[in-house]
Symmetry: C3
Subunit: 207 residues, 3 copies
């Protein structure tokens, strides 16, 4: 019997984030003339790659192996790119927003899951950052480009800032729900503002 | 006491498949001027990389750590490339056949192992595809090329088709041996026919 | 209460090795115009990447998740590159020495840990080699170059030679301390001598 359940707020955000991450992978893959299957693999890797490495390091089963929704969501993203590719450019701002929302949620999920496994906060911040940012690194390795997040606007650093906010909330013993909201919001705002004002980290000069 | 055992049919196929996968990695590495050790590493990664990621995701010890035959087989492949490199081109069709046979077997092994760990069929199909196709992706990342399987004739998709055939056999409650044969055969035929008739998946047009 | 403990000889060597590995990652990243965060990630991946894959294959928690010293050490390396980049070239020989010392120690640690987990020697040699050499491969994948260790002077092969020496010591039932010293020394000397005399492994000619 198929059960129809109303998705929770978190599930909706997770779906949007996965969708936006997959879209970014699929579009970059298609610019490199990947076929549908290759584009789908890159889309999935972008969406679930970070959380997969997190779960392998935590010693638990990768999250997407317990619920097919993430792969279906990536499939939906592929379908959208196939059907509506010429209209997608107009939606760039929408996808950017989805991506920033997804990033915020992935960081919160990654930190909380790591803490639930009994690791200290500094490990959790790293795992939150990995959940949010490693998918994009895997994507760029697959399409044979230098990972974008290592060179462009603040992205992974937004995850770290969110992690620090999470830690401050824990220090002041705030309610877990408020902690999650503040952490996610700080990731989201850092990301949005750094793109809006072209804030970059300094680069290194090789001696 | 050294026991001499007659290898089973499956072991012979597995050996041929590992050998063909390793040869493909070593030859591509040598085209990039890798030294012997580098070529060997790429050969091993091509041959066992997919199964290694599968086993890490399943939460079990990578299969090659329990039996040295896979690394020895890759070493034999290196020796063949060193000694007979100029004759190998004539054998391209033979290696292509070995590769397709190996692919078929790797998919069957990957699916069955994942089901044995209690995961549902859709996870098993993904793991079967990963067992067959991920080694080639790792190989192409090591030699700094865009992964071939994302752009050329049907390869990973052959694994998925084999997985679907596996699922259909399970649905009709067929004997496990017949299921394995039908799954492997469908992978093999899909691969052979797609190369013979240059069947490709469509590529995406970037909007 | 902050406890001040005098670090052991092994801890000092491990710190120097981690530092040298991180420096090599950070410098190569900065030559590619990575920002500070990207350079730090590449530095960390170079320093702990090999051991992380080893631990995931052994089925245990990656070592750096239990002690923040490795990430702090990489952070110190970043600080040094930022502050002293123009003086670092003069120290190339020093870093080369640190790197060779670190390589030797990483191999000993990787072999011993794998044996402690009950695996046979041949697995331990592979894991020792991976501990020492895989970080450099990950570094080169991140900066989108063909992994250097697959083409240049003897590097990974030095780890294998150290592993063989380890095995010989075990065969003769030598004291564990002497075994470690002899293994590490053979890695160190092989590495130093191969660079000094430009000893390379032969490359393959593609047929």
């Amino acid at each position: 019997m198929l059960e129809v359940t109303i998705p929770s707020f978190v599930q909706i955000i997770e779906f949007l984030g996965t969708f936006a991450f997959a879209i970014s992978g699929i579009r970059l893959a298609s610019a490199k003339r990947f076929d549908w299957f290759g584009a789908y693999v890159v889309g999935v890797a972008t969406a679930v790659g970070g959380g997969t490495f997190r779960d392998m390091m935590l010693g638990t089963t990768p999250f997407w192996m317990t619920d097919p929704v993430y792969l279906l969501c990536s499939g939906l993203a592929l379908l959208c790119v196939i059907l509506f590719s010429k209209y997608l450019i107009r939606l760039n701002n929408t996808f950017f927003l989805f991506d920033a929302i997804g990033l915020a949620l992935f960081v919160v999920v990654g930190i909380q899951k790591t803490l639930d496994f009994g690791f200290p906060l500094w490990v959790a911040i790293i795992m939150g950052t990995m959940t949010g940012a490693a998918g994009g690194v895997i994507r760029d390795v697959f399409i044979n480009e230098i990972p974008l997040i290592f060179r462009k606007e603040i992205y992974a650093m937004a995850c770290v800032i969110g992690g620090i906010v999470f830690g401050i909330c824990m220090f002041f013993d705030l309610n877990i729900f408020i902690t999650h909201i503040l952490c996610g919001t700080s990731v989201f705002l850092t990301r949005i503002l750094s793109v809006k004002y072209h804030i970059c980290l300094p680069t290194l000069k090789d001696g």
